[in-house]
């Protein structure tokens, strides 16, 4: 009951913030786009014509390839802009709980600090997951109805997006409980997202870096930090070719998230309010 109350409270607060409505609105726009503006005529398993804003183009592509391409586009949107918006929107949800006059009342209730912070964390993950499910499921149904292709592979995007958001949110929570600053939480988390594709160039950097210690440093950074870029790539590969690999990226990112969340709980347990 207490966990549910904490999750509901996070939902209420998220809905009171306009940024979450922007996220939801963008997903709705995308669904409406596929619903009304994209017309696909299919003849014997290939797209006969694709109509967009009244412009027709003849297509002889395989429908399955086209649908997977759309899935990939949506997954890329979720991974880039969607993830940034989600981090930006979530950054204030932890510092707001720590505001003087609010935190004392929460701490006066018969629940542990761990329970309080994890309830908030879980609520925040669920808010973003719900939006991801809404977009993915909406597009999947529309494309399924229009093309007759009901490929469940698109749902990989829900799992990977939720997973990497949960990892990044652990950083947001740690910075939130340590510095109580939404701006700092956003900056640090976005920085992690930005350096991810740079760190992913490990093979290239091993050739370019001259000294052993710098190569070791690069490798360490690569393994320690969450692999946002690679998980995006894994998602795209899964959607477009049906192969799912790169488990190292998953477990190292998971370890990073667990370490961040554990540290956040440790800091939160020891703070005076």
């Amino acid at each position: 009951m207490v966990t549910l109350a904490l999750i509901r409270d996070t939902f209420r607060e998220a809905l009171a913030r306009k940024i979450f409505w922007v996220l939801f609105g963008l997903s709705t726009l995308m669904i409406l786009f596929f619903l009304f503006l994209l017309r696909i005529d299919i003849v014997e398993g290939a797209t006969a014509t694709v109509s967009l804003f009244g412009q027709h183009s003849r297509g002889n592509e395989n429908v399955d390839r086209m649908v997977r391409g759309v899935y990939g586009g949506i997954a890329t949107f979720l991974y880039s802009f969607g993830m940034f918006l989600a981090v930006f929107a979530s950054a204030g949800l932890v510092p707001s709980v720590l505001e003087p006059g609010r935190i004392e009342l929460l701490l006066s209730k018969p629940l542990s600090r761990t329970h309080l912070l994890l309830g908030r964390y879980l609520g925040n993950v669920l808010v973003v997951t719900l939006n991801t499910v809404y977009l993915v499921l909406g597009v999947w149904i529309i494309l399924g109805v229009k093309t007759g292709i009901w490929s469940p592979v698109f749902f990989v995007a829900i799992a990977t997006t939720t997973f990497i958001f949960a990892v990044l949110l652990a950083v947001v929570v740690l910075v939130g409980v340590t510095l109580e600053s939404a701006a700092a939480a956003t900056m640090i988390t976005v920085a992690l997202m930005i350096i991810s594709p740079i760190l992913a160039q490990t093979n290239l950097m091993m050739r370019l870096l001259s000294s052993e210690w710098s190569r070791n440093l690069w490798r360490t950074l690569y393994y320690v930090f969450p692999k946002v870029y690679e998980l995006g790539k894994i998602t795209l590969d899964a959607i477009q070719s049906g192969t799912f690999g790169g488990f190292t990226a998953i477990w190292t990112s998971a370890l990073f998230g667990i370490a961040m969340l554990g540290r956040a709980l440790w800091v939160f347990q020891r703070r005076d309010f």
Binding site: M1, V2, L4, A5, L6, R8, D9, R12, E13, L15, A16, S96, E99, P100, G101, R102, I103, E104, L105, L106, L107, S108, K109, P110, L111, S112, T114, R270, D272, F273
Partner: protein, 354 residues
């Protein structure tokens, strides 16, 4: 060896569950001497303590970030608040009142000493189950409606959905907000928020109310209503712990008080004992300004309210002389009564002496 193992367990998981484990062992009849020694050390008072609040040598030291200079917010505070009483905590600004209250709620971790709520260590989440708390300068999330806010905090206190459905309208009615329950609290006035905060503190039928400036921002009628609510709580056996700057309010409400000064208990005891002392309070219709000034010179205190003045005199001779002056000008006497020392006098004496 056994003692070491238990001690390590207690230190590692000092979050309440260890208490439950220890208590379970007691009920299960564990009489191992090492276990009993640990139990006494961790929780020196049994759960059925006669005190609602009991602190022993409670100390909180803050250190400045760069210089490391120590500030003792509370310094060895030992207090006992008996069950069912209304207890007032007083002190000048910076005396450590809020830090003391926060240690009771485990929002602040003491460096030394213990704080027990009905015999349970305050750091144990279960110890906070019987607490209803109204913070000073509360900041309730503005996205809530009044009813929604009560629902949320009652859920955290373990009130079931069925009970909440029944209790929320009752509590809103109790604090005079039944018309405003569905309105967002961002639109509430300060006084309305205070009433809602009180309803939040009461909704789970707590055994102890900890109130930080409970009538702050509330109009006089509202203050009287809050006092009546607290009076009803007292008659039901609820312990009330009030932290307030308003001495008159503490004097009206509380049976026992403690005055904190520079982080230490400067004075504590029953109100009637602490305010014992001779004096007379005279209430009359407001006389001319000239006579008011003359009376002010003779009285130890003078307060003007609603066309009346309250005068405090230290001796019978002085009050009789004042009566002669007032009657000569045909002023009407509302009341005259012997008084004890006012709480304000006790407070000022205590703080200035230290």
């Amino acid at each position: 060896m056994v003692e070491d193992v238990i001690r390590i367990y207690v230190l590692l998981s000092y979050d309440g569950r260890s208490h439950e484990c220890l208590r379970h062992n007691v009920h299960a009849g564990n009489k191992h001497p090492a276990f009993l020694r640990i139990l006494v050390r961790v929780n020196p008072v049994p759960a059925d303590s006669e005190y609602a609040i009991q602190t022993q040598d409670l100390t909180k030291i803050y250190r400045t970030r760069w210089t490391g200079r120590e500030v003792r917010a509370i310094d060895g505070v030992s207090l006992r608040v008996p069950k069912g009483t209304i207890f007032g905590l007083l002190g000048p600004n910076g005396a450590g009142k809020t830090t003391f209250v926060k240690t009771l709620l485990s929002a602040v971790r003491p460096n030394h000493g213990s704080a027990l709520i009905f015999g349970r260590n305050a750091s144990d989440p279960a110890a906070r189950r019987p607490i209803g708390y109204l913070p000073e300068n509360h900041r309730f999330p503005t996205y809530f409606t009044g009813a929604g806010m009560l629902d949320f905090y009652a859920s955290l206190s373990g009130v079931s959905a069925a009970q909440r459905k029944k209790l929320i309208p009752e509590q809103l009615e109790l604090v005079g907000l039944s018309q405003w329950g569905e309105m967002r609290i961002g639109k509430y006035s300060k006084g309305m928020l205070q009433r809602l905060g009180l309803a939040q503190a009461l909704i789970h039928s707590p055994s102890i109310l900890i109130l930080d400036e409970p009538t702050d921002g509330v109009d006089p009628v509202g203050r009287r209503e809050i006092r009546e609510i607290l009076g009803r709580c007292e008659s039901q056996g609820v312990t009330i712990f009030v932290n307030s700057h308003l001495l008159a309010e503490i004097e009206t409400l509380c049976r026992e008080i403690a005055i904190l000064h520079k982080g230490k208990v400067a004075l504590s005891g029953k109100m009637q004992d602490l305010t014992a002392g001779k004096g007379y309070r005279l209430t009359v219709t407001k006389p001319s300004d000239a006579l008011t000034e003359e009376l002010r010179a003779r009285a130890t205190s003078l307060a003007v309210r609603d066309g009346m003045i309250d005068l405090q005199f230290s001796t019978r001779e002085l009050v009789n002389a004042a009566l002669d002056l007032l009657r000569a000008q045909h002023c009407e006497v509302e009341s005259l009564m012997p008084t004890t020392s006012t709480l304000e006098e006790v407070f000022v004496r205590t703080v200035e002496k230290k």
